[in-house]
Assembly symmetry: D2
Homo-oligomer: 179 residues x 4
């Protein structure tokens, strides 16, 4: 087992109502990942962006993202959400360092740079090279691979959920691929 | 007001019982700070460590640390806890970058590297130069200034709460002052 | 004295011809700084960009930038170039960490992302809050303060020397101020 | 080709005498790597340290290290030195980000924290997971794999060349593995 003392998944975790309640009272901790392809010397060549139908049926773009559970290590959470969103054959290479390239604060208030209608969430975001085949699961329709230049355009930013266009640009900047 | 949409402090926040309940169900988000003195070219010359009596009456050493509230920005939380622990005249210089030098995971399980009996907490930790006079408040007895070399000793690590000796060493490493 | 064993400035350093020769044979080490104004909780509110007449008499925009000398510490070099470009009353707050937000590679070859006709230079770049009054000296005509949003525009990028528009955007991303 | 405009290796580079001369006049740019083994979720499990006979015939420990050549990209230099020191089957995974975990300044002066008798060198250091088989070449006698705890001991630090024990500890801290 990779995390310290991961508990039985049920007892400590939250029912839907309890989670809804917590979301009105506490900032929730998230991890996010920007999947990338790299060349032989580690330079990012492509960025993977999820196409997804959101709760209101709109098609939006987003990143791999999900909540950290009670007792769960950050690496375990990151791995779990990568597998959930990219499928079991993506073979992500998690970073050796747990320090994110960005800490993003989502608020359920109008006017915030990053927004999330459901909650106040704070996400730790990582650039994660994937070496296998991505098959988006769950509610994701597709994973689109783009060049760093395309991923940084205003057109892509306008389609990204919750202001994540800026997060995507920060990801590119952190790997020296924002032009 | 510095944060986006900071709500009225009462309605959205938690009673003691609710907080106790949340602590058994969700990872809580913390910020931590290592107060330092720097010289004219930014090099860390001294590290400030709090001496405190913990719940069981033991004297332990710790860092500036505290929870992020619902709707509160990370910078606001960091500033609030610096003021709470170091007093209003410390004049901390918060970092321009919100990326922490370390993300620390505290678990309420034996065997974890970092432990917190009360909860699963994830803290974002920052090195923060302070330029004024520190007067520890609340339950802190004293702020002790040490050289980077002294702060990294096993003797200090043994007195640090919850495994924070390793966090302190990581702080020193992040500013090039771990020898 | 702040650096270890800083030598007498003359003997070990280079004549103009020797420097020209070295520039054809070795990558030269530079430091660069993006001067910023921050608010009370460390958030960047303005970015300072130098307006300068370059060797061909064109007006271009650039950042604080300069070579690291033999025997000189990086912090000393950074401080020296900040003082040279912003004047003695700028009161820059050098970062506690010597790790740059970006390592930029300038090549004297067409097609490189970052270019420098004179040389292969590798620069370590830092975001540096300044608290005093900036009076550009030497060949700088003016220091222009811009909002983070304005500094990230294509119009500004087009005026930046050697591709530094991308470096400026990376600086903004590193402090969570690229939108 | 992975770097921009990599020139013919001969013309622009330096003879032994010219290099000796440059070393007395300019800081030289180096890259260094701490080879590591990681588990399935990216956590560092082992650290590789080179055992080497130095110029005076003493046995010392060191890291992968080498100079950046004129016109050479940092990633290319890092890859070249990893291959030179670990052999062609090490299969290193270079980091997506070019920002080092540490910038280390080596001075040829007594009293400096990091020393190099030959020169003033500034190195950009990276933690690099290797996935294949390491067969040290050239003057390296052996690559020793150690646990993070063993690698951080005073005994290992005492054997590291030029003060690199502190660099090794900073590497461990950067990946959350300094205890």
């Amino acid at each position: 087992m990779s995390s310290v003392g991961t508990p039985d998944p049920n007892p400590g975790w939250l029912s839907e109502e309890e989670l809804a309640e917590a979301r009105r009272r506490l900032p929730l901790l998230y991890v996010e990942a920007v999947p990338v392809r790299v060349d032989g010397i580690g330079r990012v060549t492509e960025v993977g962006i999820l196409l997804r139908a959101n709760a209101s049926g709109d098609i939006t773009r987003t990143l791999v993202s999900g909540r950290v559970m009670f007792g769960e290590g950050l690496r375990d959470a990151l791995y779990r959400h990568l597998e959930k969103d990219l499928g079991p054959m993506a073979f992500p290479l998690l970073p050796a360092s747990p320090v994110p390239f960005s800490v993003t604060e989502y608020f359920p208030f109008p006017g915030a740079q990053f927004t999330d209608d459901r909650q106040h969430a704070v996400s730790l975001a990582y650039v994660v090279p994937v070496t296998g085949t991505c098959e988006p699961r769950q509610d994701a329709l597709e994973l689109t691979w783009m060049s760093p230049i395309e991923a940084a355009t205003d057109a892509v930013a306008a389609e990204m959920e919750g202001g994540r266009g800026a997060l995507l640009r920060a990801a590119l900047a952190s790997v020296g691929r924002l032009f």
